[in-house]
C-alpha cells in the first residue's frame, strides 16, 4: 500500500518538527518534567516557567493577556466550559442561548445538554453561503438571552463569520459572546484586545501542535465569570482543575508562536495552491463549490461532484486522504448537517468532498489530486444512473423515488 497524500488538514495537522523537538524537553528525567504547581522546588519552577512562556505565546497570537488563557484538553472541552460555564453561572440572568446550525458538535451537543437542563436554545439557519445574516440573529435575541455562540471558521466549508459585527450586537444587548476558533487560529488574524468577544475556544492540533491540549480565552475586562466543570486543585484560577500537561502546553505555545511569525506568508502560499486546485475542477460539468467563495480560509475547498456519491469517490481517490459530507462516511448514515443547513439537496451533500491543505502540501500534491479526481469522477459517473438521467434532461427532483 502506498501512503496517501494528506489533504485533510481541517481534521488534524501533523505536529511541526520544531514543536515536537521542544515538547521532548519536558518529559524525561534529564528534561523539565516537574509539576508546574510544585512551587517549592527547582523542578516545579522550571515547568512553571515553561507554562508561562507558552501562555504568553498563545496570548500573543490572539492579542490577549496571558492571564486570560485557561488551559483545557482541547476545543471540545473549551466549548463545553464556555457554554455550560456561562449558562450555569448566570442562570438567574436568563436561560436562553443562541447558536448556529452549522456549529461544531461540541457546541451543538453542549446546547442540547443545556436544553435537557431546562434552558432554551435557538439554532439559527445560515444563509446559503454559510454565513450568518445579522438580521436573523437580531430577531432571535430575547430579554432572557444570556449567551450567543457562533464559530469563527466553519470546519467543513471554511467560511469566516463576521465575529466583530456579531460581537458588537452582543455588546449592545449585554449578551455574552463565545466563539469557537478551533479552525481559525493561525489562519485568520485575531486581535482580542479589539474584538468584542468574551470567550474563545482554541485547539493546538489544528495548527501543527499536539492533540489533547487547547485553550479557553476568558475575558478579564469586562470580567467574565464561569462555573467550573472540572473540580479539583483549583488550577487555572479555579476555572479548570487538573495538573497542567507541561509538554502539551509547551507544544501549543510553540505552535502558536510559529503561526504568529509565519502565518502571513503561509496563507499566501496555501491560497495559491487552493486556487490551483479549484482551477483544476471548475471546467467540469455539474460541480458546485460549497460555502462562500470569498469569505473563507485559504486552505479549504469543499466541492460537490454531483451524481457521484462521496464515499465511493473517496474510495476511488484513496491516494489522497480527504473527507466527505456523504452519509456513508458517518455512522449515522445522515449526510453532512452543515451542508444540509446551507439548503443543499441531499444528493449534493452526499456528493461533497472536503479538501483541506496546509503547511506541507506541495504543488505536485495538488496536481496529483486534480488528475486523480477528474479520472475517478468520470469513471463513477459512467457507473451512475443519476448521471444518465441528468444527461437525458430528467429533473431528478421531480422523480418519485422509492425511499428505503
Amino acid at each position: 500500500m502506498t501512503i496517501p497524500t494528506y489533504m485533510d488538514y481541517s481534521a488534524t495537522t501533523p505536529v511541526d518538527k520544531r514543536v515536537a523537538e521542544k515538547m521532548m524537553k519536558y518529559l524525561t528525567m534529564d528534561g523539565d518534567f516537574g509539576n508546574p504547581a510544585s512551587n517549592s522546588h527547582y523542578y516545579g519552577w522550571q515547568a512553571d516557567e515553561a507554562v508561562k512562556t507558552a501562555r504568553k505565546q498563545v496570548a500573543d497570537l490572539i492579542g490577549a493577556d496571558p492571564k486570560e488563557i485557561v488551559w483545557t484538553s482541547g476545543a471540545t472541552e473549551s466549548d463545553n466550559l464556555a457554554i455550560k460555564g456561562i449558562a450555569h453561572f448566570y442562570k438567574k440572568k436568563g436561560k436562553h442561548i443562541i447558536t448556529l446550525k452549522t456549529e461544531h458538535k461540541a457546541v451543538l451537543d453542549t446546547c442540547r445538554q443545556l436544553e435537557r437542563e431546562g434552558y432554551e436554545v435557538t439554532y439559527l439557519d445560515p444563509m446559503a453561503n454559510g454565513l450568518l445574516d445579522l438580521n436573523v440573529l437580531k430577531d432571535a435575541i430575547r430579554e432572557d438571552t444570556v449567551l450567543i455562540s457562533i464559530m469563527h471558521v466553519n470546519n467543513e466549508i471554511g467560511v469566516i463569520q463576521d465575529i466583530e459585527a456579531i460581537g458588537n450586537l452582543c455588546r449592545e444587548h449585554k449578551i455574552f459572546f463565545h466563539v469557537d476558533a478551533a479552525q481559525s487560529a493561525g489562519k485568520v488574524a485575531i486581535n482580542l484586545s479589539e474584538l468584542p468577544v468574551d470567550l474563545m475556544s482554541f485547539s493546538a492540533h489544528k495548527i501543527y501542535g499536539p492533540k489533547g491540549i487547547g485553550v479557553l480565552y476568558v475575558r478579564r475586562k469586562p470580567r467574565v465569570r464561569l462555573e467550573a466543570q472540572m473540580h479539583g486543585g483549583g488550577h487555572e484560577r479555579g476555572m479548570r482543575s487538573g495538573t497542567l500537561a507541561t509538554h502539551q502546553i509547551v507544544g501549543m505555545g510553540e505552535a502558536f508562536a510559529i503561526a504568529r511569525s509565519e502565518m502571513n506568508e503561509e496563507n499566501k502560499r496555501i491560497a495559491v495552491l487552493r486556487d490551483r486546485l479549484l482551477a483544476g475542477f471548475v471546467d467540469m460539468e455539474a460541480v458546485v463549490v460549497n460555502g462562500d467563495e470569498k469569505q473563507r480560509i485559504p486552505g479549504n475547498l469543499n466541492i460537490s461532484f454531483n451524481y457521484v456519491e462521496g464515499e465511493s469517490l473517496m474510495m476511488a481517490i484513496n491516494d489522497i486522504a480527504v473527507s466527505s459530507g456523504s452519509a456513508c462516511t458517518s455512522s449515522s448514515l445522515e449526510p453532512s448537517y452543515v451542508l444540509r443547513a446551507l439548503g443543499l439537496s441531499d444528493e449534493l451533500a452526499h456528493s461533497s468532498i472536503r479538501f483541506t491543505i496546509g503547511r506541507y502540501t506541495t504543488e505536485a500534491d495538488v496536481d496529483k489530486a486534480i488528475v486523480l479526481v477528474r479520472e475517478k469522477v468520470d469513471k463513477l459517473r459512467d457507473l451512475s444512473p443519476l448521471w444518465d438521467m441528468y444527461k437525458e434532461g430528467i429533473d431528478l427532483s421531480k422523480v418519485e423515488w422509492s425511499a428505503h
Binding site: S331, P385, S402, A403
Partner: protein, 125 residues
Amino acid sequence: MAYGEKVLDHYENPRNVGVLDKDAKNVGTGMVGAPACGDVMRLQIQVDDNGVIEEAKFKTYGCGSAIASSSLLTEWVKGKTLDEAAQIKNSDIAEELSLPPVKIHCSVLAEDAIKAAISDIKSKA
C-alpha cells in the same frame, strides 16, 4: 471504513456495467433507492425464450458496498430463471461480500432491485 477484498474487487472492476433497452419486452428494469438516501440502483435483466436470464446490466450511484452488491448480483442472476433469481436473499449478498452491519442496507437494496426488475418483466408479459 475499511472494506473487504471482495467489495474492493467488485468496486474496482465492476461486472456488467451498462444499459439494456428498457422498452424491450424481454427486458425488466428495477430502479430502487433514492438520491436523498445516498444510493440508487438500476438493475436490468434480459430473458431468453425459455425464461432464463441471459443478460444483466447495472448502474449504481452509491457507496462502495452498494456498487459491489449490484455488481455481484448481476453475476449471480445470469443463467437463473426468474423464479430462481427471486430467491436471492440480501443476507446471501451481505455474507458473500462480508458487509459490515452499517452496510447491510446496500444488500437489501440489491434484493429490492432484482425483485423490482422481475416484477417489471412479468408486467410486460
